[in-house]
């Protein structure tokens, strides 16, 4: 029996080498940027846009001669929308693949676990896809947010309501961490502005039926219906509004601001209002170039999921170029005060928490199958139509 032992151990050793062995270094010696994001699981759809933008960014920067004169290479893994897998893959990116720089996964839950890993290794993590404030408030020095903060999502709602003298709303949102943060922010605003919140409910991820929420909405008759949700839920909401002939005066959801919504909701999605953080028509720095290249490569217009990815990579590249270094502490120190403009608008962080404070929010309205900016005025591309025209008045 002991005869087979050496062989077994040798096989095990070989297996370990195959699995965990670092890939051999190449002659060109690229700068490696590691990201684990969902390619499968319930966030795969939204993370897909984020990934595409980052891949596009890599192509664009390599065309211009790379970063610090070296080509950029992405090391991408699928974290299966699972925060535990995300944590493990960041360990791998840091210790096995020995990547030079890190960008965070898509979604607040996976960002929460991977930021703990990055902190342990004292590695800078660009939080480009997690909105939740709680992630930043844990006091991790090395996690820096380039994604829009929670406040940016909801800041357009009160001005819009004031303009039309609307004073009541319901909130029907998917139960996940960023949505809970957004509801809290909105509740605070509502209190200040004297807006009545008639009802606030959360539905579990995977809900597809909104009959009871609609019945309650019809009964309460709010001016504004806010849903912090993903595109599929926004699509199903407007379709079920239409199918039951219900309509609030305003329907606002961040799920509206994505290509999927425009395509899948079709005419039913007209006039819906989306909270957005980025639009391809915005005249922000580098945006014309990015939006054009994105459409050319992928055949649809980028939404804010994509904008987040591109902006995160941009900020990272800029501080690397400015410091001329890949030293994590130098980069982090530079980020304390570093301000710049990206496709999302202004980038600025609060030095202590790494929380993003520069990026501002937008409101868009779907018009003729396109997203048009209605707020703030400096970016406006169209005058909004409110209240939403009744279903029977639409062609």
């Amino acid at each position: 029996m002991f005869q087979s032992l050496p062989r077994t151990l040798a096989a095990l050793g070989l297996l370990t080498a195959v699995l965990f062995g670092a890939p051999t270094a190449r002659a060109a010696d690229p700068i490696k940027i590691g990201i684990a994001l969902s390619m499968t699981g319930n966030l795969a759809d939204s993370a897909g846009h984020y990934r595409k933008a980052i891949e596009l960014w890599r192509d664009m920067i390599n065309q211009k001669g790379g970063l610090l004169g070296r080509p950029v290479e992405l090391v991408l893994y699928d974290e299966r929308s699972d925060p535990a897998t995300a944590a493990r893959l960041y360990e791998r990116l840091i210790t096995v693949d020995k990547v030079d720089l890190l960008i965070a996964p898509w979604g607040s839950a996976s960002t929460a676990t991977s930021s703990a890993v990055a902190e342990k290794h004292k590695r800078l993590l660009i939080n480009a896809g997690g909105a939740s404030e709680k992630v930043q408030e844990r006091g991790f020095r090395y996690t820096v947010q380039t994604a829009a903060p929670i406040s940016a999502y909801v800041e357009g709602i009160a001005p819009l309501m004031a303009k039309y003298k609307y004073d009541s709303m319901v909130m029907v949102s998917r139960d996940f961490n960023a949505a809970r943060d957004m509801s809290a922010a909105l509740e605070k605003i509502a209190k200040e502005k004297n807006i009545k919140i008639l009802n606030s409910e959360y539905f579990p991820a995977g809900s597809t039926d909104f009959s009871s929420n609609i019945a309650k909405g019809r009964q309460l008759g709010p001016d504004v219906w806010v849903s912090l949700a993903y595109p599929n839920e926004a699509i199903e909401l407007v379709r079920q509004f239409r199918a039951t002939n219900y309509l609030p005066k305003v329907f606002i959801s961040n799920g509206v601001s994505q290509e999927d919504f425009l395509k899948a909701a079709g005419k039913d999605g007209e006039y819906a209002i989306g909270m957005s953080l980025y639009e391809p028509v915005m005249k922000t720095k580098g945006n014309a170039e990015f939006a054009k290249a994105f459409v050319a490569k992928y055949g649809y217009e980028p939404g804010y999921f994509a904008g987040f990815g591109y902006a995160g990579a941009t900020v990272l590249a800029e501080v690397v170029t400015k410091t001329g270094s890949l030293d994590q502490d130098k980069l982090r120190a530079e980020l304390d005060t570093y301000e710049t403009d990206t496709v999302l608008g202004h980038h600025k962080i609060e030095p202590k928490t790494g929380l993003q404070v520069g990026v501002k929010g937008l409101l868009i309205q779907v018009r003729n199958g396109k997203r048009e900016i209605i707020w703030p005025t400096e970016f406006k591309t169209i005058d909004e139509v409110l209240p939403l025209p009744a279903w029977e008045q639409r062609s």
Binding site: G48, Y202, P204, D209, I214, R218, R242, A264, D268
Partner: protein, 287 residues
């Protein structure tokens, strides 16, 4: 409280649940196979429908005919090539096999359709007014098809020669063999029929839900709950069970919020299992 609106909403939701359960009731209820890929059958059918109608510009009715046939063919092959080999093993093996097929289908669907959400704008999207209530066109159609489909299968199982063969294979395979029934053939056709009905369900759900490759898992447990509440293999039971669950979910969500509302479905399923395992109406084929 808008009782009537909630009630009608619940009944129409129940219609969708009945539709989800229709095919599974043959596969799980009658044949006893726990088919983990059932939800994915529905999702793929919905996605194919979107591709046919939006992508190729074909009329919706073409999808109604073509997609169930495609799914039935797939189901036939699935049963004949894979499940047949493990039919005599423990039940848990069919769970593992269908789970494996489910992951393969999901992965394949992601490769074909990408991860994005797709819909059928303009198909059955409107509403019908009835006694001052507005009913969803697509759900009304789904409801009618689910009810007539269920009754049709029920009649088929009870009254036709092949239907009786299916029941005899499910209940006493040895005796069925002795009576000259080809077990393999009956099982293949039953599974194909079940998959085809799942296909029809998927087609009719495409106008209601935003479809994506991972949609299936959201429907799977609901379909199982409907069958358990209604009684294994009982079509009238499943219809009634689906309506009951739909109505309870809508009222539950209204009173206690959506989280508890959707949990009610599982609580009712558990209560049924513990108190009345033969199903609420006690007319299951396999108890």
């Amino acid at each position: 409280m808008p009782v009537w609106e909630l009630l009608v909403g619940g009944i129409l939701l129940g219609g969708l649940y009945a539709l989800m359960a229709c095919g599974l009731n043959l596969i799980f209820g009658v044949m006893g196979v726990i088919n983990f890929a059932h939800g994915d059958f529905l999702a793929v059918a919905a996605l194919i429908t979107v591709s046919l109608v939006v992508g190729l510009g074909l009329p919706f009715i073409v999808a109604v005919v073509v997609v169930p046939l495609l799914l039935a063919a797939f189901g036939y092959v699935f049963q004949a090539v894979i499940l047949r080999r493990i039919a005599n093993g423990p039940v848990i093996m069919s769970v593992l096999a269908t789970f494996a097929v489910s992951t393969i289908i999901v992965n394949g669907a992601i490769l074909v359709w990408g991860g994005s959400y797709r819909g059928l704008p303009g198909v059955l999207g409107g509403s019908v007014e009835l006694f001052g209530l507005h009913l969803s066109e697509s759900r009304l159609v789904a409801f009618v098809v689910a009810m007539t489909g269920s009754l049709g299968v029920w009649w088929f199982l009870r009254r036709t020669r092949f239907g009786r063969a299916i029941r005899s294979v499910a209940q006493a395979p040895e005796l069925a063999t002795i009576s000259g029934i080809s077990i393999d053939r009956v099982r293949n056709v039953t599974f194909a029929l079940g998959a085809g009905m799942a296909g029809l369900g998927g087609v009719l759900m495409a106008p209601t839900f935003a479809a994506d490759p991972q949609l299936g898992s959201r429907f799977l447990i609901k379909a199982f709950a409907v069958i358990i509440v209604g009684g294994m293999g009982s079509y009238p039971g499943a219809m009634a069970g689906a309506l009951l669950l739909g109505v309870l979910e809508v009222f539950g969500s209204y009173w206690f919020g959506p989280t508890i509302g959707s949990a009610l479905l599982f609580l009712v399923m558990l209560a049924t299992l513990l108190v009345r395992p033969q199903g609420l109406f006690g007319i299951g084929l396999r108890t």
